[in-house]
Amino acid sequence: MDTMNDINSDIQKAVMADYKYGFVTDIEADAAPKGLNEEIIRFISVKKNEPEWMLEWRLKAYRHWLNMEEPSWANLKHPPIDYQDIIYYSAPKQKVKPGSLDEIDPELRRTFEKLGISLEEQKRLSGVAVDAVVDSVSIGTTFKAQLAELGIIFCSMSEAIQEHPELVRKYLGSVVPATDNYFAALNSAVFTDGSFCYIPEGVRCPMELSTYFRINAENTGQFERTLIVAEPGSYVSYLEGCTAPMRDENQLHAAVVELVAQERGEIKYSTVQNWYPGDKQGNGGIYNFVTKRGICKGDHAKISWTQVETGSAITWKYPSVILKGDHSVGEFYSVALTNHYQQADTGTKMMHIGKNTRSRIVSKGISAGFSNNSYRGLVQVGKNAANARNFSQCDSLLLGDKCGAHTFPYIEVKNNTGVVEHEATTSKIGEDQLFYCNQRGIDTETAVALIINGFAREVMNQLPMEFAVEAQKLLAISLEGSVG
């Protein structure tokens, strides 16, 4: 039917967007040669001036990794990755380590301004503490002094290894062991930086903590490692954002994030992921293979993941919560948008171990172009997890008729007092909806953005205010095009 084709082509046009963060910053980099072996790992460890135990930890992970196989169960297709063709360490060259933000390379500063995150602006206006990681190295952490007064530690992982080795040793790998899975093992061997965040007992972190990750150098993998610990009765809200330049070849990003919430501790972790998704033909883009997991260690602890995923050629990511403490709560709110030839296989795992534990999953998948978007989730209720409750809602929205949406829910219940609910819907943007908007004076491109944002609203509402606005714009940009 012609009409249907017209509408599809309208949507198609509306979703043909250009990536706006694809610039490359011209900064000299201090890099390791390509390839991966024990020498490279020693090189990284030396560069970072690490203690012996850290090197040993890395080497152990590497040796384990050598015997592992890349997972193939996800609903994803990509050519084999040559792990010897990747640079595992690249740092923007700075004459001296910056002591303050004013000493940071002006080129690099401009990069962040282009990204809309001028460190100074952020510092002054929004009261958000920012840690910025380019390629492999953390560039500057704002607001550190103010946080220190409360006993909050917010610094790069490299710094944490130097300054707070006892905390790092205690918690690193305690939620995601170095041998957990193929990409986590790789990360454990070669991770170069990331953020470390520690909230002492009873402290409510007074500002959003935020990290911006950026891959700048060519042929570079980014392997960051983030660790957040919330001691009893403490609270922190943390946000990460990511971008990368446009390059024809694929770049690997294999991060690990670990969260530990003690009794009545609460961690809210939000991600706005906009890595370069590749071009309209599916060339280039980031492979985003990430392991994120949190543990509610004590009673009444709470961990909440919120993610808005619009970038990356491939996303493989399942932010999970281990509900160990009684009455602990896990949440997962996700919007994953795929366009052109992007692929996403994302979801969560909620592992109920303690009694009276609750979890909530809200997943919104938006597929456009020729993309494929899968939700994969596991809800597990252990045999001692009396009165566990889970509610899952998985909705898919299709734009056009060449994309795919898939849902793979897994449920394992070993305690008969558990209640697990799953709801799923799939819908399309209808010609009636578009015409209704058009008739009110709203063009098709704006109408698509309105409909998408309406669809994703429940998740967007979970984001901190200032980032919700950004994320809404990002959804619109990711689908914007030449309709007019």
């Binding site: 009409t3 017209d6 209808g430 010609e431 009636d432 909806q433 015409f435 209704y436 908007c437 058009n438 008739q439 009110r440 004076g441 709203i442 063009d443 704006t446 309105l450 409909i451 944002n453 309406g454 669809f455 994703a456 609203r457 429940e458």
Partner: protein, 252 residues
């Protein structure tokens, strides 16, 4: 304001409108009546620019412009409003946000600055009072879970907010009980003035007890076969559409 000349249109190769001629002047209310399948809703859709409908011949002038040359959103910008027979639902999009976007898009088309939050709220409060619309309705997702009456009231509320030059109401009375019809008609009457015009499409005469038209047209088999003053509606009510059909076949 609106001049339709010899308009022929159809969908998927099927001819539905077979030579419509109609002239509407500012300040007038016209009603179009006719049996099912006579082309009433097609006329509304063609005027609003639904692209499934193809216009084969004829012209439509609206405020000096060739209406058929404009996209649906440009037509809205020029001041044409369609009250839908079946308003669509958009989950998660608040009615307020939708109306604000629409209003500011229309303003942009006209080269006006967007209304800021304060001015928008003031306008909305004013129209809510006029239309007797409750805040809770506007906070809900657009038309989602609305009753038939709520949907139609929302249409008329949007019309009040957008202040169109020409409002086409496509069977706004269908599916409503008499109280709901009275509320909707009241809203329309509040908005009537010497500069704007209304084209009310309806199957039944009862809406016209409340919205008194200047002219009634009877649409049958894709043509306007009879036009007359408001009393024509009563005649139709009394004698049914059959007498039109017999008259037309005699004339043919």
């Amino acid at each position: 304001m609106l001049t339709i000349k010899n308009l022929h249109a159809g969908i998927e190769g099927k001819k539905i409108l077979k030579g419509i001629n109609l002239e509407i002047k500012p300040g007038e209310v016209h009603a179009i009546m006719g049996p099912n399948g006579s082309g009433k809703s097609t006329l509304a859709s063609v005027l609003a620019g639904r692209k499934e409908y193809e216009v084969s011949t004829g012209s439509v002038q609206f405020l000096g412009k060739d209406l058929l040359d404009l996209s649906p959103e440009e037509r809205a910008g020029e001041g044409l409003f369609l009250g839908f027979q079946y308003p669509v639902e958009i989950p998660g999009l608040s009615t307020t946000n939708f109306i604000k976007t629409a209003l500011n898009e229309v303003r942009k088309y006209r080269g006006q600055e967007p209304l800021d939050a304060v001015a928008f709220l003031k306008l909305m409060k004013e129209k809510m009072a006029l239309m007797n619309v409750d805040q809770s309705l506007l906070s809900r997702s657009l038309n989602e879970g609305f009753s038939g009456g709520e949907k139609k009231r929302n249409e008329i509320f949007q019309m009040a907010m957008l202040q169109p030059k020409l409002a086409i109401l496509d069977e706004t009375d269908s599916g409503l009980d008499i109280d709901a019809i009275r509320i909707v008609a009241n809203g329309v009457n509040q908005l009537r003035n010497k500069d704007n015009a209304v084209l009310a499409i309806t199957h039944y005469q009862r809406l016209l007890d409340y919205i008194i038209p200047d002219v009634i047209h009877v649409l049958y088999n894709g043509r306007i076969v009879k036009s007359g003053p408001k009393e024509l509606a009563l005649e139709l009510e009394e004698r049914g559409y059959d007498f039109i059909k017999s008259e037309v076949s005699v004339e043919d």
